[in-house]
């Protein structure tokens, strides 16, 4: 079956490695007179990780979607370079998270292929999800105005990051099995409750992400535009109501309208981000020559501004384009899926990954009001990196399944 997989993706991987190595070599010389060995080691470790991931996946799964993998690797690489430039210690932690994430990706690939039996206890998962989402309200830690972190010993994690994967699986299962709108009511209730809990925690970015993904997935799954538009109206009404009810929503919208009016207080972050993007120009100031630390949350939510400042808007646009490639590949995987369940899973994961990136990029470039959320694959963060990798793993799992099926069908036809 050379027919199916003949174009080369390995060359692209080597280009990524070249990018990685040249950037880390540059970073190694940033302290005048001394060679930073650590930079070279971290760069080398990252290269080893990329090679290992790619070769291992190609060895075990013949039909892995290589271009999704390439896109994810480019984004991870850009993120890693920027993290190391910002703070080597965070970067090393990020490197560990990337490694853990890759393991989770492989687990996700294996699990997705046997998922239907595991999803039999879907009521249990629903109750568990709601419970886990509710926990931060009582035991949570507040960062950046949102009470969405759950400390466990020395670590802290964001339940909302993990539950979004569960929501995708549950939605896909329900819409696969039940066809009538009335039968989907419990599912709607469940998703609505999740979103309500997120709003209570003031995690508006996640709430927006859940609502958007659920709506898109519902429309894709049922094609019922009456219910979709009705729910969209309901969500919009909720958004307007929250604008009038909560002061922090009003503040966000005010900043969005004019960040310069409150430059020294609330609007500082958005204004700084815009200035950073503007100062970068087309090709950027050059790695290490910007002043990214003047932007609050530069290592997570605002990393896009840092990329634009030091690599330039061209690379920033390329990052956006890479997310668009994820949409295209994800849609193709969903179209080729064997059944509706897998198609919905693929669409759900694609939507989550890309909608999340557009919510935060849109916020950073002042296209929409800023809501704090991480940028998949690029931002620093253990929960975020692991979940992005799991979503990628699910997509790859469906792609591998498609490939295996297509190959056996073509072989059968030939006989």
């Amino acid at each position: 079956m050379r027919l199916l997989r003949r174009t080369s993706a390995k060359a692209l991987l080597f280009l990524i490695i070249l990018f990685e190595l040249s950037a880390f070599t540059l970073l190694a010389f940033r302290n005048a007179g001394t060679l930073d060995i650590q930079a070279l080691i971290v760069g080398g470790a990252m290269v080893a990780l990329l090679l290992f991931q790619y070769l291992a996946l190609r060895a075990f799964f013949k039909h892995v979607d290589r271009y999704l993998l390439i896109v994810a690797n480019v984004l991870i690489t850009i993120g890693m370079i920027v993290q190391y430039r910002l703070d080597p210690e965070t970067a090393i932690r990020q490197l560990i998270w990337i490694g853990v994430g890759m393991l989770f990706m492989i687990v996700a690939i294996v699990v997705v292929r046997h998922i239907k039996t595991l999803l039999r206890f879907n009521w249990l998962y629903m109750i568990f999800s709601i419970g886990l989402l509710a926990l931060p309200i009582f035991f949570g830690r507040t960062t950046g105005g949102a009470r969405n972190w759950l400390p466990i010993g020395p670590f802290a994690f964001q339940p909302s990051e993990f539950i979004k994967v569960a929501v995708i699986f549950l939605m896909a299962k329900w819409m696969y099995e039940k066809r009538r709108t009335v039968q989907l009511l419990p599912l709607g209730l469940f998703v609505g409750l999740c979103i309500a809990l997120l709003v209570v925690q003031r995690d508006l970015g996640a709430a927006l992400l859940y609502a958007g993904t659920a709506l898109i997935l519902y429309y894709v799954g049922t094609g019922n535009w009456i219910v979709t538009l009705g729910t969209l109206g309901l969500v919009s009404a909720g958004a307007v109501a929250s604008y009038h009810m909560f002061s922090h929503v009003r503040v966000r919208v005010e900043i969005w309208k004019n960040p310069w009016a409150t430059y020294s207080t609330d609007g500082y972050q958005v204004a700084q981000g815009l200035m950073a993007i503007a100062s970068g120009g087309l090709f950027g100031l050059g790695l290490t020559r910007g002043a990214p630390k003047s932007i609050p949350a530069y290592w997570t939510d605002y990393i896009f501004a840092v990329i634009c400042e030091e690599f330039g808007i061209l690379v920033g646009l390329a990052v956006v384009a890479f997310y668009l490639v994820i949409i295209l590949r994800g849609a193709l995987i969903a179209l080729g899926a064997r059944d509706k369940f897998r198609a919905l899973l693929a669409i759900g994961c694609t939507t989550l990954l890309t909608l999340q990136s557009f919510i935060i990029i849109g916020g950073v470039i002042k296209l929409i009001p800023l809501t704090g959320i991480t940028m998949p694959f690029v931002s620093y963060g253990g929960s975020s990196m692991i979940v992005s990798m799991i979503l990628l793993g699910v997509l790859e799992g469906v792609a591998i399944d498609n490939g295996d099926w297509l190959e056996s069908a073509v072989d059968e036809k030939k006989r």
């Binding site: 174009t7 080369s8 280009l15 990018f19 040249s22 005048a32 330039g312 080729g336 073509v410």
Partner: protein, 151 residues
């Protein structure tokens, strides 16, 4: 102009990075498109049926009488514009029935409960295998299933 040689190197490298990232982007899109084309061809090849089966409109009398529709691996029958076999009649639902191949046999299944699908006068409730000269009724339209073996 530049404080150190490092600054100069950093600026030069910024062009290199932009070039590299854009090149990777263009190549990824191009390769992905090529692969998509190859895969689509493989799928289209699969769609070609083993037997030259078709359905023919056999009732009622009218302009459409005798019209033949070749069957593919999966066919949606209905009055909607997205259907593989389009039957633009008021008595036919938007997506009324589907005829699909499984293990080299043809099956018919109803996609709508309201108007019903009848094979040889019997209303079908689940997928039913089709055999030569079966009469399929959708609304007021009657189709006859014909399977012509290859060779």
């Amino acid at each position: 102009m530049y404080e150190t040689g490092f600054d100069l190197a950093s600026i030069i490298m910024s062009y290199w990075f932009a070039l590299l990232v854009l090149f990777i982007l263009v190549k990824t899109v191009q390769n992905a498109y090529l692969e998509y084309k190859v895969e689509r061809e493989a799928r289209v090849g699969l769609d070609r049926p083993r037997t030259m089966a078709y359905v023919e409109i056999t009732a009622p009398e009218g302009d459409e009488l005798g019209k033949r529709f070749p069957l593919r691996r999966e066919n949606i029958l209905g009055s909607g514009s997205g259907c593989d076999i389009r039957l633009p009649f008021r008595s036919v639902s938007g997506e009324h029935a589907s005829i699909f191949q499984k293990n080299h046999k043809a099956f018919i299944a109803a996609l709508t409960a309201r108007k019903g699908v009848f094979v040889n006068g019997e209303k079908i409730t689940k997928a039913r295998e089709l055999s030569e000269n079966d009469r399929i009724r959708l609304g007021k339209i009657e189709l006859t299933y014909k399977a012509v073996k290859e060779g």
